[in-house]
Amino acid sequence: MDMVTAAKVFSDIGWGLFHYIIFYPPVYQFIIIPGLVAALAVVVFMIWFERKAAARVQMRYGPLEISPRTGGAPQLIADLIRYTVQELIIPSAADFFAFIVAPNAMLILSLLPMVAVPMTSISEYWPIPMGYSLLVAVALSTLAPIFTVVMAWASNNKFSVLGGVRESFIVVAYELIAVISLLSVVPLLHTFNLVDIVNYQMSGIWLGLLNPIALLDLFIAILMSTSGFPFEIPDSETELVAGPFTEYSGLIYGINMGGGYIRRWAFSVLMTLVFLGGWAPYRPGPGILLGYFVPSLIVVVKATIVMAIMSFLRAVYGRYRLDQALSLAWEVLIPLAFAAFGISVAEAFFGVHP
């Protein structure tokens, strides 16, 4: 076999790998867009944006010195490198297996909902059959937070355990809100199919306009679930050093830090599809470019804007007390979520549904 043939065979295998594994929609969605790669890119941008936005409000510049011309944009890359090469300290009292596995499991499970969402209306590019995709995505989104509690328990540290307990309180509170507000579109449209939901919003009436209470509820639930301000309670540094992440260092700490943002990203994509019209003004055309990349880009941009708004809240709010957040969740937001569900039913009954 001469070199040319060998090269051809290898390139065929490579192409096969590329075509059938990377471009196999579930894998592609999990790894590239809107999964790991897109999420990481957005997270890096978002942490930078969060710091810059807060700095603008707060009479200062934020990250700047590393590259004054771009406003310090490479700062996060530098931070990432630092986390990567930092020494990884695992306390001898920690439960080694759980200590190492939990952050990674959390990262992976945070991205799992991405396998269940469509990025386009063309069935060729769907990762899974879309019949019950909303239900599947919602179900998958609830898996990750348990690993924060595992991390806290495995750290064997008082502050971690306290943080973990807080996290578990909050998980129980926000999950119901998020699930009910997401599912409140179901009675309106009589479908669990995310593609149908987005297609309905092609008419220009986003479901967020039809049911703003559900949108607001979901927005707050996402903030709660990803400990964003004003609900940055589990890792409240003033009394619990870093909450569940106290004992973590190096790369795993970086994963933990990004983990919350990635969870927020997954929820933002879901929120964009359900309430903010997905790829809405755009109608996916033929071909992979117009049929997949353009609509997915629109979704990514919309979800990024949602995340930017969430990040901006850091500059305006402090943090609630744990019991206040819980009472807000159980006494205000959950009734509101039921109300939103009722609004959807009423709208369907009175014929807003097409």
Partner: protein
Amino acid sequence: MPAKPEIKKVPRATFLGRAIAGNIGALTLGVKYFFDPNRITLLYPHEYIKLKQGYRGYIVLIFDKCISCASCARICPAKAMKMVSVNVKDKKLNKVMKKKYPVINYNRCIFCGLCVDVCPTEALYHVPYHDLVYLNMNDMILNLEQFQEQPEFVTSKEGVPVTYVFDEKRGLVKVRADESVKQEGQIGQTSGGENK
């Protein structure tokens, strides 16, 4: 008119006023400053503050004015000054005699300025410089010759001199030091690292 106590009340708000007006007020203010930031950060090595005369900075000795009274060394709270005896030629009497002169240890100096204020002949004065660099702690103990020289101001080599001027709307506004003299009232922010 002496002071008088005055009972104040924490402003009360209704539930709706608190939930809606409070949130909207906070958010609009945040957005306002997001689009119109009021920055006061000094980008230090690229800019430095040109201090006014009167700032209690580094201290310089005027050798000829010193009358060796040792008040400065005696009043120094940090024991940063010492009197060293040197042989100098007295011009009036035209003979060599032993006199005492102060030297300073900047490891210890707290820049309280008492030595300058207590000097009966004004032989010590403050230079409005603050950020000097020494290579080691031993260099920070100046001998008699070094104490008489004005320190070399290293920041001015690459930095832009700025001053902060008071402003009613923005508190402190950073202006180029040379411009602040020229255009009073007309205040423009110096270009920082990033331009809006």
